[in-house]
């Protein structure tokens, strides 16, 4: 555990060294740190607060304010259900329900096996393909419950294939 914390601190510091100690760098720093760590462990936020010489609660305020920042580790695959207007009206909420049901988690959570995390986004700007779910940065068009099953199946098959190859 302590080893892990030390590693987080070290990784955070390495990113911080590329920035000036100015408050205006906070959001770009947070973006880079999350890019590396996937979320914000306590130690990372403390390290950033110290670097920018600001109260740690201020880092926490910013992290909890913006949708993009996470306080829990992400899954290996990210599932982001678009709930823009067009997607919603064409059944985005039905797709979200299907994901929730199959992954057995709520939005903002990560599955126990850390395979998937589930988020919603306001609009990815692909209203034409509604309802859209962005899976690992790839927008999937017209996601109905059966397509959710299809996507999950393809991940499962891929995992099995990799398992066989490594054996």
């Amino acid at each position: 555990m302590i080893e892990e914390q030390a590693k987080v601190k070290q990784q955070t510091r390495r990113i911080l060294n590329r920035f000036g100690r100015k408050r205006e760098n906070l959001i770009p720093i947070l973006q880079k740190v999350q890019g590396k760590l996937g979320y914000f462990p306590r130690e990372a936020m403390l390290e950033i607060a110290e670097f920018l010489d600001m109260p740690e609660i201020d880092v926490y305020s910013v992290v909890t304010f913006y949708n993009q920042f996470r306080l829990i580790p992400p899954g290996k695959h990210s599932v982001r259900v678009c709930l823009g207007t067009a997607c919603h009206m064409k059944g985005g909420y039905i797709a979200l329900d299907a994901w929730k049901r199959r992954l057995d988690i709520d939005r903002g959570q990560t599955t126990l096996d850390r395979e998937f995390d589930l988020e919603t986004v306001a609009c990815v700007g692909c209203c034409v393909m509604a309802p859209v779910t962005v899976v690992d940065d790839k927008p999937q068009a017209k996601v109905e419950p059966t397509k959710v099953d299809g996507i999950l199946l393809s991940f499962k098959l891929e995992k099995e294939r990799q398992g066989e190859e490594s054996r």
Binding site: L52, T85, G91, V128
Partner: protein, 637 residues
């Protein structure tokens, strides 16, 4: 500006431009065919990258030397992925719905052979005798592309394409004008901010120029957060330099040495393309110190938002640039006098800044000649929802809603009936059929209870519930509220509770009066634009579609058969086919089973109302129906 500096600007740019032009014409007229593939986000979602790969592989296989260029979005999103082939001897032809198989055929049959594969043609970019061109489309009569003109036509990753098509010439012209003259030109053009509220851009520029305090800042607001609006994304992905040029001219006019391009986190491709554009502009000294040898220095930094709708509000956007939560401040003072770090700051939307180069190049009179009395120029709309031609369109202000939806958008798909159009996103409203002949401009939309907003236009048909759409928008603004002021934090939450109850059939008729009262108070009392406009979707649907609210409350019925708590899926035994098990197999929760007579029955307790059975039931049987209220389902024997 000193005369010597000016001479250098003109001569330096002339050289840059002639190099760019020879590159462009080498590509267009170099004797080689060229393939353009639209790879903006909308194209990618439809599989454009796979098409690019297929084209590259096939060209290699056929040993063809022919450039493949990734372009932006033409606005015909309904037909993505779109491939354009420019072959000597033919007009440039666009193909729609291209998949890797079609792409390979296009290479073999058109580029290698001489068959232009007319069956896949969408239209030609130029008029010709072979295939219909886009200008022959009925919608062309209503459209006027100004800021979308380059989109899908030039390679956004090559600054030379932009320059060869007139880019940065307006900057060179502007540098030869005194800043006051530029502001005067923008003022005379009547350009109003395209971010939503429609504040006159020239006035804002003037206030900022005259404000004391140094340095001044310029911010381009690309935090396009309205769900259902995607034109800023399309412009940044398809023609990023047009935004940079607008920023440069604005920076010069107000006397700012520095600008921020604020782009939404959800637009990674727009961020990448804008970053590349910045590097290219810097390399040619179109950005940076002593631009083109003049005494004007200006640099732009790209700032990525982190996902907060409220950051579209100027003061919240500034807070987030300063490294704080995006929480709005009370205005006045306005950012134009007290903005970023307390300095005068000009904030304009992506589209507003995209217009600038055209106004400088063509003059204010040209811009004034387009549009209506009080709203000049064109308006860009993102058409989505229940409309045939989803995508982007640009029409002169004053075009009617009917023309946009039915002529440009080709109406409602599937023979369904038009019900309403939602304009302006969470700040806007839903307008009914009776408002369709309304000429669109800032003021007419506001009078009708909607709002131009950022230009998202969602078409709704008979299957869309107006209570649900109001609930949806309120749910959105409520989630996106920063939580600072009482009205927005708690008021919208109260309204949402009431709407939730109504969509579940638990509403009371007296709640409607409470909703209106509270909505009025939220509008009057909220601190910022997000709160002040949050009740609009509820107020406008209550105004035009009160009967739907009443049906939910009084009869527990959702007339559009959308609200899940008020509907049930039912399989009509007489229509169900014994031998078919399509619904049983596709039901995601195994709620359907066959009875002794092999008639399929839905277990209403298990059913999650996802509608998969209805889509999977073969059309020749058509046995699954939605019923509302759910009590209409006959009791099983």
């Amino acid at each position: 500006m000193k005369a010597a500096g000016l001479q250098s600007v003109v001569s330096t740019f002339r050289e840059i431009k002639s190099r760019a032009e020879s590159q462009w014409w080498e590509l267009r007229d170099g004797g080689k065919p060229v393939v353009l593939v639209g790879t903006a986000t909308c194209g990618r979602a439809a599989g454009a990258l796979e098409v690019v790969q297929a084209i590259r592989d096939e060209l290699k296989k056929q040993k063809l030397d022919c450039p493949v260029i990734e372009v932006g979005c033409m606005g015909h999103c309904y037909a993505e992925p779109i491939v354009t082939i420019i072959k000597p001897g033919y007009p440039p032809i666009c193909y729609g719905h291209v998949n890797p198989v079609i792409a390979e055929r296009l290479i073999r049959e058109f580029i290698l052979g001489d068959d232009p594969c007319l069956e896949f043609v969408l239209g030609a970019l130029e008029e010709n005798d072979l295939v219909p061109s886009f200008s022959d489309f009925p919608r062309a009569k209503f459209e006027k592309k100004v800021i979308l003109k380059n989109c899908g036509y030039i390679d956004p990753q090559q600054i030379e394409h932009y320059i060869a098509n007139g880019g940065y010439s307006a900057l060179v012209k502007a540098l030869q004008m005194p800043p006051e003259k530029i502001i005067d030109e923008v003022k005379r053009s009547g350009l109003r901010g395209r971010g939503g509220a429609g504040f006159p851009a020239g006035e804002k520029w003037e206030i900022c120029r005259n404000a004391s305090g140094k340095p001044k800042y310029l911010i381009c607001n690309g935090d396009e957060g309205d769900p259902g609006a995607f034109m800023d994304r399309a412009i940044l992905e398809s023609d990023p330099h047009s935004v940079l040029e607008g920023m440069l001219i604005a920076g010069y006019a107000i006397g700012a040495p520095f600008g921020y391009l604020y782009v939404r986190a959800e637009y990674p491709l727009a961020v990448r393309r804008a970053q590349l554009a910045l590097r290219q502009a810097r390399k040619l000294n179109l950005l940076g110190r002593n631009i083109l040898g003049s005494d004007f220095s200006f640099d732009i930094k790209l700032f990525q938002g982190s996902g907060a709708f409220v950051c579209g509000e100027e003061t919240a956007l500034i807070a987030s640039l300063e490294g704080k939560p995006g929480i709005p401040h009370y205005r006045p003072p306005y950012p134009a006098t007290n903005g970023l770090y307390g300095k005068p700051t000009l904030i304009n939307n992506v589209k507003t800044l995209s217009f600038i180069r055209h106004i400088i190049q063509n003059g204010a009179e040209w811009f004034v000649s387009i549009g209506t009395e009080r709203s000049k120029g064109t308006a860009v709309f993102a058409l989505a929802g229940k409309v045939v031609n989803t995508g982007l369109t640009e029409v002169p202000m004053g075009t009617t809603l009917r023309q946009v939806i039915f002529d440009v958008g080709s109406g409602i798909p599937g023979g369904k009936r038009f019900k309403a159009v939602q304009i302006g996103g969470p700040s806007g409203g839903c307008l009914p059929e009776s408002a369709l002949d309304l000429p669109i401009d800032f003021d007419s939309l506001a009078d009708a209870g909607a709002m131009m907003g950022s230009g998202g236009m969602i078409v709704l048909d008979e299957d869309d519930c107006m209570v649900e759409i109001a609930r949806y928008f309120l749910d959105f603004t409520q989630r996106e509220s920063c939580g600072k002021c009482t009205f927005c934090r708690l008021g919208t939450k109260q309204m949402l509770e009431v709407l939730d109850e109504i969509t579940k059939g638990k509403g009371k008729i007296k709640d409607l009066d409470m909703l209106v009262e509270l909505a009025e108070d939220i509008k009057a009392g909220s601190l910022c634009g997000l709160g002040k406009t949050a009740p609009n979707p509820v107020l406008s649907t209550l105004r035009f579609f009160r009967d739907e609210y009443e049906a939910h409350i009084k009869e527990g019925r959702c007339p559009a058969l959308m609200c899940r708590e008020l509907i049930a899926y039912y399989i009509i035994p007489e229509k169900c086919e014994r031998s078919c098990d399509a619904c049983v197999g596709t039901c995601t929760v195994e709620a359907i089973s066959a009875n002794k007579k092999r008639v399929k029955v839905i277990d209403q307790e298990k059913c999650v109302k996802c509608g998969t059975c209805l889509t999977s039931c073969p059309p020749q049987y058509n046995a699954v129906v939605k019923l509302s209220p759910p009590s209409q389902v006959p009791a099983s024997k």
